[in-house]
């Protein structure tokens, strides 16, 4: 353990943190990547995807919701944890209906990029083939729940950044699904606009802006150029009014 009052160690590397930061905040600031799908710097953390689970002593904790505390010895990039991350990614693949080869998000999709990052070669688990509702009512935005991984990013973005509160997650267990906060339950009746953060933050192909799907050709898309590690370290949004 170090004498410096405000440092933690991740895989042996000592990094600083400031009061109020989580393990994830400190790690990203120091250029250490902890795999994550439901975390987005600048939005309040949720802790639902569990890819960022790290080991603190003999406890498993989600880095995005666990405060950094002086002297923590964190294990992150270990074969065991990466195996678990791969299994969780596979779980997300079989829970939804992911049609990568024909999905317009392909190449820009974080779930897909995470699978590459973790060396995932197959689904491993049997597919659920759940029936999930598609909402094409909005003139400019498509909501295909089949590809939703319930990461809650659109919920938080709409509520905390766009100040519109368009989405919520409802239902228990694998019945959990995204709902739209309108009497009809349709996106067309909401105030959602293509410029909203919520319309642009979906890590997968569940919320898509219409008519631009193939503007960028395959081969020139985000994860054709960089890995999810690089995106994860860079991206963040500024909170409009920090409260």
């Amino acid at each position: 353990m170090s004498d410096n009052p405000s440092t933690i160690r991740i895989d042996g590397q000592e990094i600083p943190f400031t009061a109020g930061q989580t393990i994830m905040d400190a790690a990203l600031a120091a250029g250490i990547y902890i795999p994550h799908l439901c975390h987005y710097s600048g939005l309040p953390p949720s802790g639902n995807c569990r890819l960022c689970v790290v080991e603190n002593g003999n406890r498993s904790v989600a880095a995005c919701i666990t405060p950094a505390v002086t002297g923590q010895e964190i294990r992150n990039n270990t074969p065991e944890l990466n195996e678990a991350r791969k299994a969780i990614t596979q779980m997300l693949f079989v829970e939804g209906n992911h049609i990568c080869p024909s999905c317009e998000k392909t190449g820009n999709c974080k779930l897909q990029a995470m699978a590459y990052h973790l060396g995932m070669l197959d689904d491993h688990f049997p597919q659920f083939y759940q029936r999930r509702e598609l909402d094409a009512s909005h003139p400019e935005i498509l909501l295909d729940r089949s590809r939703c991984i319930l990461c809650d990013l659109c919920v938080r973005a709409s509520r905390d950044m766009d100040q519109k509160n368009v989405f919520a997650i409802a239902g228990r267990g694998t019945d959990a699904h995204l709902i739209v906060n309108t009497p009809s339950g349709k996106l067309a009746d909401s105030t959602m606009a293509v410029t909203d953060l919520a319309a642009n933050i979906c890590p997968v192909g569940a919320i898509l802006i219409k008519e631009i799907g193939y503007e960028v050709p395959i081969g020139q898309r985000i994860y054709d150029q960089q890995t999810i590690r690089e995106t994860g370290l860079q991206e963040h949004v500024d909170r409009k009014n920090d409260d």
């Binding site: 639902n48 049997p126 409802a170 267990g173 694998t174």
Partner: protein, 588 residues
């Protein structure tokens, strides 16, 4: 946001769960229009109301029958606990499909997680009321009464009777509590000394986790806040647990007194009892006790004449969600939201109800606290083991002659408990419910205590006749159904675990599936967000360790399909309106 701060249920500011319950009762479902009105009334978003309706099992968006029946599916009080499938029997008598309301709207039948009637025989809820000791004859009579639309008030009262059987009394169950006695002592000695007595007693939480109660009260008392709250966890959802059911009815005064004492210590003015929806039938009794205590000057303003001591209690009734027993999910539910466990830290002791310092304790914990104040810490501390002081109330059910309530000093040996309840040819015991521990005969010399085998009260006995794989499947279905769905490993993992056990039980499993069970179990256990996920796969790992044959016996030596090929063609058959022999695959 307006959440109930009122002290009787007829007030305009109801709790949202109570409003939705009333709507469900009146209209047999909650319509989109009703949701909109509720959102406006409570000044919350429509999506919050919709999410609440979707979260709790007792609410539905599709009409249920005027007689709405929910069979318990617990291994002790469930419809499969005897020789016959009771749910199927009633469905046949009434010509109804499980889960589908009959076309005339008269009747709907489905299943629900354990309703806490494990010592009463197979049981069901009809329009929320428990009917116990079911058998073929009673079901025939029930079917007749439903067919003739005889109102429930005309049904034999004996059908709704819950007969408590207490076979062993110790410290707590021997007590005759005089209302106000503990409070007199607490007020006379002051909050500091009262806290000290609880701390010295060694009392630990009785809800399962066993956190030091004195320490919890101290942390909460020290936490700054606009208000402090006391919450009694009466959610008792762990299958096989029914001791709080008894305590809520027969030891209500002591429970309320424990809560009031806690309020004195931490400086709370408001308390809540979070009562599981399955125990709604206890509500009139609980309200009567609270009213009586108000009249006696033991609740409300100027308690026992003390100018500055004010405390009152509301009862909030849940609506079918095991996860709401988890304290932070419970608080979310109290706040009128789906019961999704919070990010912790911060813990409820500093940031609980409405973000304020909150004590959540189990029913039995509060009762123990009240008696400790009356008798002093030594009375309690001198019983039990080093780290588990006092006694534990067990609810014993399953394959034994005398299912019921047993109170033992901590440290009692499992074999002793089995002898006392008349269990013979015992194959295994599951202690602490599906989330607890599965033990075989080689371990019956172990003890009930926080040091060894701890339990919130559930003690399930399985004899040699029981098919343990069926038990594992039952538990796996329970967790998949009750997972709140928030985090990936539990949401998806509990369903995979369930599918995997189903596959093995249906004779389609291979050796690979055993390895798969292990890995899945470890993943769910370590990567999940809350206690439900952390414990959901314990029974599988215990089973694999102690009873490996359970899983390996039905395995196929050769490759088998992941899925049932013939079943996979069902949607094609439906689409083509065919069901002839040629539309089926021979699966043999």
């Amino acid at each position: 946001m307006d959440i109930s701060h009122s002290h009787n249920s007829g007030s305009p500011h109801q709790h949202i769960l109570h409003r939705l319950h009333a709507l469900q009762q009146q209209f047999r479902h909650i319509s989109p229009h009703a949701m909109q009105r509720t959102a406006a009334e409570f000044n919350i978003s429509l999506s919050q109301v919709a999410a609440v309706v979707a979260f709790y099992s007792f609410f539905s968006t599709q009409p249920r029958g005027r007689f709405d029946i929910l069979f318990s599916n617990c291994t002790s009080c469930g419809y499969l606990s005897g020789d016959q499938d009771l749910m199927q029997m009633l469905c046949q008598l009434l010509q109804v499909t499980p889960g589908k309301t009959r076309a005339d709207g008269l009747i709907s039948i489905s299943e629900t997680s354990c309703i806490g009637m494990c010592d009463q025989g197979a049981s069901l809820l009809i329009n929320g009321l428990p009917v116990t000791a079911l058998n073929a004859e009673k079901l025939t009579q029930i079917a007749q009464r439903i067919t003739t639309e005889s109102p429930l008030t005309d049904w034999p009262t004996e059908w709704f009777a819950v007969h408590d059987r207490i076979y062993r009394r110790d410290l707590l169950l021997m007590e005759q509590h005089a209302p106000g006695s503990a409070l007199q002592t607490a007020l006379a000695q002051g909050a500091d000394q009262t806290l000290a007595v609880i701390q010295q007693s060694g009392l630990r939480g009785r809800g399962g986790a066993g956190f030091d109660t004195g320490k919890k009260w101290q942390l909460c008392r020290a936490a700054p806040g606009d208000a402090h709250y006391v919450v009694c966890n009466a959610d008792e959802g762990e299958p096989g647990t029914f001791k709080d059911r008894l305590l809520l009815r027969d030891h209500t005064d002591a429970m309320v007194e424990g809560m009031t004492t806690c309020a004195l210590v931490i400086g709370a003015k408001q308390g809540f009892v979070y009562l599981r929806g399955e125990y709604r039938y206890l509500l009139p009794h609980l309200h009567a006790v609270l009213d009586q205590r108000r009249n006696q000057g033991l609740l409300g303003q100027h308690i026992l004449g003390y100018e500055n001591f004010e405390f009152d209690i509301d009862i909030v009734v849940g609506a079918g969600a095991y996860i709401c027993g988890e304290e932070s999910a419970l608080i979310e539910s109290l706040e009128g939201k789906p019961g999704i466990p919070r990010i912790r830290p911060p813990f409820p002791v500093t940031h609980g109800y409405l973000g304020q310092p909150t004590i959540v304790n189990n029913v039995e914990t509060f009762i123990a606290a009240a008696h400790i104040i009356t008798h002093g810490s030594v009375w309690f501390y001198s019983i039990g083991t080093e780290q588990s002081r006092g006694t534990k109330i067990l609810s014993i059910s399953g394959d034994c002659e005398k299912p019921g309530i047993y109170e033992y000093p901590f440290g009692v040996c499992i074999r002793q408990v089995l002898d006392d309840c008349g269990a013979q040819n015992v194959q295994a015991v599951q202690i602490g419910g599906p989330a607890g521990k599965l033990l075989g005969a080689a371990e019956f010399n172990r003890a009930i205590s926080f040091e060894d085998i701890s339990t919130g009260g559930s003690f399930l006995v399985f004899d040699q006749q029981r098919n343990l794989l069926a038990i594992h499947r039952n538990f796996a279905h329970f967790f998949a159904h009750e997972s709140c769905g928030f985090c990936t490993p539990c949401r998806v993992g509990t369903r995979l675990l369930k599918n995997n056990l189903d596959k093995i039980a249906e004779g389609r499993g291979t050796a690979h599936d055993i390895e798969e069970l292990k890995q899945l179990s470890h993943l769910i256990q370590h990567q999940s967000h809350c206690g439900l996920g952390h414990t959901a796969a314990h029974h599988v790992l215990d089973g694999l360790q102690h009873f490996p044959h359970t899983f390996s016996a039905p395995l196929q030596p050769h490759f088998t399909a992941q899925f049932d090929l013939d079943q996979a063609l069902e949607s094609a058959r439906q689409a083509t309106h065919r069901n002839d022999a040629a539309a089926h695959l021979d699966n043999e």
